[in-house]
Amino acid sequence: MQSQFESSFKFINEQFNLVFQELFGGGQAELILDDSKDVLNSNIDIRVSPPGKRLQNMLALSGGERCLTAIALLFAIQKLNPSPFCVLDEVEAALDEANIFRFTDYILANAKQTQYILVTHRRGTMEACQMIYGVSMQERGVSNIISVKLEN
C-alpha cells in the first residue's frame, strides 16, 4: 500500500514539474509531503515558482498563475491513468493570450492519445480546434447546435 502510494506520488510529482514548465515556459513545481514517515495520512503541499520568480506559497500567485498551475497539476494526474477523452468547461477563462497559446499547444500535442472537448469563449482556443460546434437559442429557452466548422 505504502510503496504503491509512493510510486504514484513520485510519478505525478515528476509529471507536474514537466507539464508546469511546458505551460509556463520555464519555472518549477513540486508536491511536498509534510510528514514523510506517515505518507498515507500526510498532507500534500504544492510549491511552485513561475519563471524568474522566487518560490511562492500559493497565496501570492496571481489569478492566472493559479489557474495555469491547477491545469498543470490536472494534466499531470491524467498522465497516471490517461482517459481516452477529457472535457474542460472554460478552464482557461483567466489566462492571458500568451498562456492560452501554451495551453492549446499542450492540448494539440496530446490530441493523438486523448480526445479533448473544450467549452470556451476564448478566440485563441477556438482557433486551435479541429471541430467547432456553435450552440444557440434562436428559439428562446431551446438550445440547438447550429454550425460545424471542420478545420484543415
Binding site: 504514484s8 500559493m58 482517459s83 472535457v87 468547461d89 479533448y116 472537448i117 467549452v119 428562446r140 438550445s143
Partner: protein, 165 residues
C-alpha cells in the same frame, strides 16, 4: 476507445433530439451565455452515471427533464446516449460500437441501457473500471471548478492510492 457521438433528447434545454458527433483531436463548443454549452457537459456526466444533483446543477433528478418555455410544454422524460468506438476492445464487452444510455421519467425513475439492453448502474461503472473514464474528478472539469484541483488534497491522495503507476 474513442467517443463517436452524443445524443440528447428532453435533457435540460434540449427538447428536440440533438446529435453531436465527436471526431479525432480537439472539439470546441462555443456560444452565448445561457445557450446550453454546460448542459452538454452535464449530459455526458449524467449518462456516465453521475449521482450528485449538485454537480448537475439541479435540485432533483426529474428537473433535468426539459421544463418547457412560454411556447413549449414540459416533456415527460429525458434521454441521453453516448456512443463509443470499441474496435480496439479496450472496453471488456463484445461490441464494436458501445452505446451507453440513461433515461429519466417525471416519476423520478431512472434507467440505464448498454446497446439498448436495460442494465444497472453497476454494469456501467464496471465497464469503465480501469479505463480512466468515469466519475472521478480528473477527466471532466466543470465551469468554475478548475481551482478545485489545487484544493482537493484528499481526492488527490485517494487517486494516488488507487493507481499503481
Amino acid at each position: 476507445m474513442r467517443l463517436k457521438y452524443l445524443t440528447l433528447q428532453g435533457f435540460k434545454s434540449f427538447p428536440e433530439k440533438t446529435v453531436i458527433e465527436f471526431h479525432e483531436g480537439v472539439t470546441s463548443i462555443v456560444g452565448p451565455n445561457g445557450s446550453g454549452k454546460s448542459n452538454i457537459t452535464d449530459a455526458i456526466r449524467w449518462v456516465l452515471g453521475e449521482q450528485s444533483v449538485k454537480t448537475l446543477r439541479t435540485n432533483k433528478m426529474e428537473e433535468l427533464i426539459f421544463a418547457g418555455t412560454s411556447a413549449r410544454r414540459p416533456l415527460s422524460f429525458a434521454e441521453v446516449t453516448l456512443a463509443m468506438d470499441n474496435s480496439d476492445h479496450s472496453l471488456s464487452i463484445d461490441y464494436e460500437e458501445v452505446r451507453i444510455s440513461r433515461r429519466i421519467y417525471r416519476s423520478g425513475e431512472s434507467e440505464y441501457l448498454i446497446n439498448d439492453n436495460k442494465c444497472r448502474l453497476k454494469d456501467v461503472t464496471e465497464l469503465f473500471l480501469d479505463t480512466g473514464i468515469g466519475r472521478d474528478g480528473y477527466s471532466m472539469i466543470g465551469q468554475g471548478r478548475v481551482d478545485d484541483v489545487l484544493s482537493g488534497k484528499a481526492e488527490l491522495r485517494r487517486k494516488m492510492l488507487d493507481e499503481a503507476a
